[in-house]
């Protein structure tokens, strides 16, 4: 069984995720870019995943929302850069709960023997923003995480 590998190296604002799938590259690319397929796997099962727009082309916008059963919504959006293809694609990524902290994601897909490895390289604007996303952006109790993020960001505001 494949294992998701996540690295958040010290001293650089990157997150690297890689995972191998038992499927050819074209199919994996479809799963990442066709909204009817994306909605069936992306995000925790306990959230409803609603796709607002997903325009996979150079300059196209994307946005989706995770909704919990209390009606809280967590929105994510960005833009595609360059022409997406099964070789890979580049997109910006912004969590609406932390506006302005835009990350740049590059996904590459490599096929060997009918299996496809997807590697995502995410670049954040600072190490603090990277750590905050990892620590707070993807876990339960996101609201609680926002307060900690506010406190963290408060330390980053330059003093005149």
């Amino acid at each position: 069984m494949s294992e998701t590998k996540v690295q958040a190296p010290d001293g650089v604002p990157f997150i690297d995720v890689s995972r191998e799938f038992d499927a050819p590259r074209d199919l994996v690319f479809r799963a990442f870019t066709d909204p009817d397929l994306l909605v069936q796997w992306l995000g925790p099962q306990k959230y409803e995943m609603v796709i607002d727009t997903y325009d996979v082309r150079a300059g196209g916008s994307w946005r989706y929302v995770h909704r919990d059963d209390a009606g809280n919504e967590f929105g994510f959006h960005g833009v595609f850069h360059g022409e997406p293809s099964p070789d890979g694609f580049v997109q910006t990524f912004e969590f609406e709960g932390a506006p302005g902290h835009v990350a740049l994601d590059r996904l590459t897909l490599t096929e060997a023997g009918g299996r496809t490895t997807v590697h995502t390289h995410s670049v954040y604007q600072s190490i603090e923003a990277r750590n905050a996303m990892v620590e707070n952006g993807m876990t339960e109790g996101m609201n609680e995480g926002f307060n900690r993020l506010d406190a963290l960001l408060g330390r980053l505001v330059p003093v005149a």
Binding site: S2, E3, T4, V6, A8, D10, G11, I15, V17, R19, F21, D22, A23, L27, V28, R30, A31, D36, L37, V39, Q40, W41, L42, G43, P44, Q45, K46, Y47, E48, M49, V50, R67, D68, D69, I127, N131, V134, E135, M138, T139
Partner: protein, 122 residues
């Protein structure tokens, strides 16, 4: 308890001598001389490493008579591994669902869309 400074923890763990010092302290509190004994390194050099570990909250230090004892603190190490584990768990869950979707698509290339695909489940 101070919140964990993840950058300081990862910076402290980035050095193999400091990792070895932490491993030694799992056996119990030790003086600087006791920690330095297995290393081909002077006590002042070991003390510098201990300062970094203390700054990251990975050890606390106290006095016993004339000796300074170092004590391994479990919480920062646990915090450092936990935050990455949560992120990985988030992606693990989605990737598991993608595995299942890819298997379904390869078995039946033109399935009717799963109407419950985006509904929350427990």
């Amino acid at each position: 308890m101070q919140p964990t400074n993840l950058d300081a923890v990862f910076g402290a763990l980035a050095d193999p001598t400091r990792r070895a010092i932490l491993a030694r302290l799992t056996a119990g509190d030790r003086t600087v001389a006791e920690i330095a004994a297995p290393f081909a390194m002077s006590q002042p050099a070991i003390s510098r490493h201990l300062k970094v570990l203390e700054g990251a909250g990975l050890i606390t230090r106290s006095r016993r008579a004339t000796a300074r004892l170092s004590h391994l603190e479990a919480a920062p190490l646990r915090d450092a591994t936990e935050w990455l584990a949560k992120y990985q768990a988030w992606w693990d869950e989605s990737h598991g669902r993608l595995d299942a979707l890819l298997a379904r698509l390869q078995a039946d290339p033109d399935p009717t869309p799963d109407p419950s695909g985006s509904r929350p489940t427990e």
